[in-house]
């Protein structure tokens, strides 16, 4: 799978390249700023883009702006956005008008190589990945302001958070040390409580949950 990287720190460029190549990705270009990133994307038409939010020249949010533009202009290209800090506002912006193929993780998650590679594959496959940190913020916040979520049991709230992270039922079961059947029961209860439409597509299910949480 062909990847373009947007990252201004040379050390991290190398690290990312190493991790990605070990995971079987082909790094076709590395750009040090947002303009370079968009040019490389135009030129190489990769399947996946991995980019930092803060890049030169202004060191503000140009990576995020570039990611959104790439998704709009090239819907077939999946984008994983990495950031020093994750927050609800950026998640909402990334998910608005998106039908998947988008991810938003803390930079730090790179170190958990296997999981990071898996998240990349899921995004490239059309899925949605949000960092556990931002999911935690979303769930905690929704619990305070949303009666429907407040009515869920603590276990169901845990399942909800893992669902929002984009985990499969099997992964959730493994994480919580319960059976997959129990997870299915929890998820259907969650769908009822939040009044979400049942969907056979796993990606769309995750997206629905995340949208619910970010807009709560």
């Amino acid at each position: 799978m062909r990847v373009v990287i947007g990252e201004d720190e040379v050390l991290l460029q190398r690290g990312l390249q190493l991790v990605l190549e070990q995971g079987g990705f082909e790094v076709v270009a590395i750009a040090g700023d947002a303009t370079g990133l968009e040019e490389a994307v135009e030129k190489h038409q990769p399947e996946l883009v991995v980019t930092d939010i803060r890049m030169p020249p202004t060191h503000t949010d140009e990576g995020l702006v570039a990611a959104l533009r790439i998704r709009r202009q090239h819907p077939q290209i999946a984008v994983m956005v990495l950031s020093q800090h994750v927050q609800r506002r950026y998640a909402r912006e990334l998910l608005t008008d998106q039908t998947g193929s988008i991810g938003y993780l803390l930079k730090q998650r790179i170190a958990d190589i296997d999981r990071f590679l898996e998240d990349l594959r899921r995004v490239a496959d059309g899925g949605t990945v949000l960092d556990p940190d931002v999911i935690a913020v979303l769930v905690a916040r929704a619990k305070l302001s949303d009666d429907a979520i407040g009515s869920l049991t603590p276990r169901q709230q845990e399942v909800l958070a893992l669902m929002a992270e984009g985990q499969s039922n099997a992964k959730i079961a493994a994480e919580l040390f319960v059976t997959e059947k129990a997870v299915v029961q929890h998820t259907s209860r969650i769908y009822d409580a939040l009044d979400l439409p049942l969907d056979s597509d796993a990606h769309r299910r995750v997206l629905a949950v995340i949208r619910y949480l970010t807009d709560a």
């Binding site: 720190e9 050390l11 690290g15 803060r54 949010d61 800090h85 506002r89 730090q108 958990d112 305070l144």
Partner: protein, 589 residues
């Protein structure tokens, strides 16, 4: 002399009344003198008009002198005009029937010419300050008084034989010629001095000086030479020539009084007014300069104040004054108060003749000057302090950004890469089980260190504030609150300067922390809005209240920051009533 009159005059209106009474007394005495002269002169005869004209013109001098003195008490022109009048009076005694008085008249007959030259060279202040001018004035009096003597001493057939000591018509004639030559020299010198003054004067003053000086010189020439010109050359009756002479003499005081009063020359006479003003006015900023400027008649007058600590003169706003080198149009007088410099008055020497006048006025206002000096000094140090505080706050903000950036780019990045390496080690097929387990533990340890560092960086300078601005950062704060938090945002990011936004951010962060940590609040609301150019932050909680700015929380430091930025912080925290913090900061600072 001037000082003695000026200072009492400024002390109160009692002395002003006393001056008025004295002038009135002089007027009465002068009237009596004129009447006395009329009573002793020879009336009737061919030149009957002359004996009457003398006392009348003396009255003109008296009136003109008194008006000048009254209107400009500290200008000496009035006194000089009166003295000239006395000389004219003495000269008029030449028409007396009483021999002694007639003798006096003979001796002083031409003194009025010297007095006129004195007046011309002393105008407008009434003082002859230049050395050359003083010499010329002295020469004029010598010529008209001492050189007059041969004419009566050696001429028994002259108008007053009783003064004659010898019959030597030759000596009398030689004396006359010498007096004529000396008089001519004095006239030429006077004309040169006056022309020089005209050239140095500015345009407005020239308009007054040219007619005045021309008249003065013409009058002196006419009086001195009318006998030769009209009587001998044109065969005019001596009586008529005498009348014309006296009319010319009578015009002199009128011309000088008009020059003093209309010529916008230094109005030193109103120092008294200045004193009265000082008594009543609060002396708001700049008013003192305006009053001095008005009193001394120099619109360009400026006052600067001495700041001993910095050894500079500053203006009323506390801004150091560039020292003006004394030049053609600028002179400076320093004012002392109780032995130390308090201020400097810079003025246009063409408008104010004498530094003494300025100094006198300065001494009168020295106390007020000292007060204004202290105010200016205070303003200067306040300005310096404010600038240095602003720089400190700004530097602290910059430093936070730099530290956050450095930690993130450096240490944070390295920790992530170390964790990657540890994980790769754990995953490598050649790593044994035990080593793999330890490598995974190492990875986890590094990862949690990276998390802690990330939180530290966030606390120093949150990414959202750098990347987006206040509203994004405030939203993230509210999102992470463990209690219901409502956020009301009405501000676009980047609308205020970074240092204002970060100050507002830390106020919100601190208030939210306090609400949860100390006040046990169960709900909190945050409002951030911009009203015109003021950023307003309001945080309300329903906690226990009783908070103060000085209770060791971070609010003290933030209150200082807000103050430096020209804003206000209000903390309302009655026990049991919850806590409200309202901060308003001008956006632009």
């Amino acid at each position: 002399m001037i000082k003695e009159r000026e200072q009492p005059a400024a002390m109160g209106s009692n002395l002003a009344r006393s001056l008025h009474r004295s002038l009135l007394a002089i007027l009465c005495a002068g009237g009596l003198l004129a009447a006395f002269q009329l009573s002793v002169v020879r009336l009737g005869g061919a030149a009957a008009a002359l004996p009457v004209l003398f006392p009348l013109i003396f009255l003109v001098y008296l009136g003109a002198g008194l008006i000048a003195w009254y209107r400009r008490p500290s200008n000496r022109m009035g006194v000089l005009i009166l003295l000239a009048g006395i000389m004219l009076f003495l000269g008029g005694m030449g028409n007396s029937v009483v021999p002694v008085l007639e003798g006096v008249g003979t001796v002083t007959a031409t003194l009025i010419l010297a007095a006129t030259i004195h007046l011309l060279l002393a105008f407008p202040s009434g003082r002859v300050r230049e050395r050359t001018s003083a010499v010329v004035v002295g020469a004029a009096y010598f010529t008209t008084f001492a050189l007059q003597s041969p004419i009566y001493l050696f001429n028994p057939s002259g108008p007053d034989p009783s003064l004659s000591v010898a019959d030597a018509p030759m000596l009398a004639q030689v004396g006359g010629v010498v007096q004529g030559i000396a008089g001519g020299a004095v006239m030429v010198a006077t004309a040169v001095l006056l022309v020089r003054r005209l050239m140095r004067a500015d345009r407005t003053h020239r308009r007054v000086l040219i007619p005045l000086f021309s008249y003065g010189i013409a009058a002196v020439l006419f009086i001195a030479f009318s006998g030769n010109l009209f009587v001998r050359a044109l065969h005019m009756p001596a009586a008529l020539a005498g009348v014309l002479e006296l009319v010319a003499v009578g015009g002199i005081p009128i011309a000088f009084v008009l020059g003093i009063l209309l010529g916008s020359f230094a109005r030193t006479g109103q120092i008294e007014e200045l004193g009265t003003w000082l008594g009543v006015a609060g002396g708001e900023r700049g008013a003192l300069t305006a009053a001095l400027s008005r009193t001394l008649g120099d619109p360009s007058l400026e006052v600067s104040f001495w700041v001993p600590r910095r050894r500079v003169f500053v203006d009323a706003d506390g801004i150091p004054v560039v020292s003006t080198t004394p030049g053609q149009n600028r002179a400076t007088v320093e004012i002392d108060y109780q032995g130390s410099a308090v201020a400097a008055i810079s003025y246009n020497p063409a408008l104010i003749d004498e530094p003494d006048t300025v100094r006198s006025a300065g001494r009168i206002v020295a106390i007020a000057l000292e007060r204004e000096r202290l105010t200016a000094d205070l303003r200067a140090s306040r300005r310096a302090l404010q600038h240095s505080r602003e720089r400190l706050v700004d530097a602290a903000d910059q430093e936070r950004r730099r530290v956050a950036q450095d930690l993130h780019d450096g240490l944070q990045m390295q920790l992530v890469l170390l964790a990657v390496e540890a994980q790769q080690l754990a995953n490598a097929p050649e790593t044994g089980d035990l080593a793999s387990e330890r490598a995974t533990r190492l990875h986890k340890g590094i990862d949690s260190a990276a998390s802690e560092l990330r939180q530290l960086v966030h606390a120093v300078m949150p990414a959202a504030l750098v990347e987006r601005g206040l509203s994004a950062a405030a939203e993230d704060l509210a999102d992470r609150m463990p209690i219901p938090t409502t956020l009301d945002l009405d501000v676009e990011d980047g609308a205020c300067s970074p240092v204002v936004e970060s100050t507002a951010y830390f106020v919100i962060a601190e208030s939210l922390t306090n609400a949860v940590k100390y006040a046990q609040a169960t709900a909190v609301s945050v409002k951030v809005l911009r009203i015109n150019s003021v950023l307003r932050v309001e945080v309300n909680d329903n906690g226990t209240g009783g908070a103060t700015v000085n209770d060791g929380s971070g609010l003290r430091g933030l209150a200082d920051r807000v103050d430096v930025l020209g804003g206000t912080m209000e903390l309302t925290s009655e026990p049991g009533q919850g806590t409200q913090i309202v901060v308003e900061v001008p956006c632009a600072s």
